[in-house]
Symmetry: C2
Subunit: 335 residues, 2 copies
């Protein structure tokens, strides 16, 4: 194995000098530097990341924790973080929590043990009380789509309430009145907030939201499929459905087929996320576009800013807005 010492011996200098060539080249005489650089190349020396981190106490890597890898939702955020950090010479490593509190906790300590300089995490299984102590680490931890009292500085999130409200308003503006909503699971702050905002839109207009039309379900295809069936069972008329994720909407549309119903002919559907598939479906899905990539970027940059203490990395934008992406699955009711 080629180590610093190997190189230093070969070049006839001390290990300190070789180290300097790598980390602060300007502090080394040009001739020495070139000699060392040549030797490094010839020997194919690659610094041992672990030794380096151990000695310097910084690893130039940011850890990211997501719920699942096999989901575009998290994947897009992840890519956002990655691209933002790459520019500044930082690496991203990812772990998944497999949707369990234990997993979230383990991933966090694992990443901490790996000396990540900062951590970006999406957490919904851990309660506020469980989470708080974990946040005491000296490495900054950025929370995705989660609000924690007194920890706002380090939260990046979509304003899900506003998004829910906007979704309702859009449907309302299209003339719909009997609007159903299939929600994501309670466990997710996102779902709760979207529901709350949705309700508020009705209140503000002095309209009543028919509670029989809101069915609690789960994110993911299956959740949309089951949710739709449940809605049908209630036999309450509706002209539009708001699904709290695109995956749910896709599956819901399919479920409708089994009842001989089809969107948007029989009812309008509004999704959420704007996954890549949304624009390639039949009907093309009208959905609440969520800037997943930018959210990821912001989180990455905030992590960097917090870790380095250089605020210029981060532009201060912690809150993002979802916007209506109009396509074909929502139709206006003729007034």
């Amino acid at each position: 194995m080629v180590t610093l010492a190997t190189v230093s011996r070969a070049a006839g200098v001390s290990t300190a000098t070789v180290s300097r060539v790598i980390n602060q080249p300007e502090k080394v005489d040009k001739r020495t530097r070139e000699l060392v650089e040549k030797t490094i190349k010839e020997l194919g020396y690659r610094p041992n990341h672990y030794a380096r981190t151990l000695a310097s106490k910084t690893s130039r890597t940011i850890g990211v924790i997501v719920n699942r890898f096999a989901s575009t939702y998290y994947g897009q955020m992840l890519e956002g973080v990655e691209t933002a950090l790459e520019v500044h010479g930082y690496k991203t490593i990812a772990e998944s929590s497999r949707e369990s509190a234990k997993g979230e906790q383990e991933a966090l300590t694992s990443l901490l043990d790996r000396q990540c300089d900062a951590i970006v995490m999406h957490t919904n299984q851990l309660t506020d009380a469980q989470l708080r102590p974990l946040l005491q680490e000296k490495q900054p931890i950025i929370l995705l789509n989660r609000h924690l009292e007194g920890y706002c500085q380090r939260c990046i999130y979509l304003d899900n309430e506003a998004a829910g409200e906007r979704a309702a308003n859009y449907l309302l503006d299209c003339g719909h009145r009997q609007i159903a909503m299939i929600t994501g699971s309670d466990e997710f702050h996102e779902a709760l907030a979207r529901t709350k905002g949705f309700r508020r839109a009705f209140e503000k207009r002095g309209l009543e939201l028919n509670e029989d039309l809101v069915v609690k379900s789960r994110f993911g295809f299956k959740g949309g499929y089951d949710g739709f069936k449940q809605l049908q069972k209630r036999a309450v008329p509706y002209t539009a459905i708001f699904f709290q994720s695109d995956e749910m909407a896709i599956a819901g549309i399919e479920a409708a087929q089994e009842y001989g119903l089809s969107a948007p002919a029989d009812f309008s559907v509004l999704g959420f996320d704007d996954v890549e598939a949304a624009q390639y479906l039949t009907p093309k899905l009208t959905t609440m576009r969520q800037p997943l990539n930018e959210i990821g970027k912001a989180a990455g940059l905030l992590a960097l800013a917090e870790f380095t203490g250089k605020q210029e990395f981060f532009d201060g934008k912690r809150e993002f807005e979802a916007t209506v992406k109009q396509r074909a699955s929502v139709t206006s009711l003729g007034s």
Copy 2:
């Protein structure tokens, strides 16, 4: 910071003993062990992963390199690797190559520098010649869906040729003769193999594959969309289309709408992958099911077996088969 030394002092033992309690508890007297364990807990001590790895030269983690995070295809494999390793107390960390040769190379050295005990990688940008030297590391590197002369021991793959052949045969058996194919990009070994197998099926039956009906495109939604349009431009009649990925198929079906065509009424479509969305589309997508999760698991286990030298981790199955998942998008042509 609580270190080994802190604990050892508090417990009144040597650091060696504390270390043993953690790594080989059976070698420590029960009473001492319990005392140390108690102290560890009280102090909230967590071993420093870096120091540990540096000293022991093993990190108990496997690195995985995928092309992109925001794709279910890789996500599912990743989850497969993860679940397989978790059981054995190994961690998985992932990096993405962002679909570039440079990215693949960087991810590899980064993971190597991180002392991953073994690496599982999906690589298609690096040429065989570029790849070979990288494989010389002492850490075993497992290749996903790639064949490398003389490196078969460490390759896990879907038999894409057989899959392509099977796809063609299925369509042929359904009575289709004018079959179009939209391929993935040449850069991917997967695409080439599927095409090859597809061709072979025709040859074996003494049938001719109309070359005007095969259009080279790219994986991903856009590739399917563009591919279909290109196919239309050629104005050659067909009764079925084989898309080399589900994403392509989804987008292709949508593109067809723009021509007033719809599947399966106007033509059958066969996809590839069986992504979760496939069963929730209209029409439900008939597709070549690829056991992504199992492939990931196998790769993880093989990595473990190679690293530890314990062959019992791995069951020897390196090659996987795709099977036809019949749903609604392919119809039989009345004979």
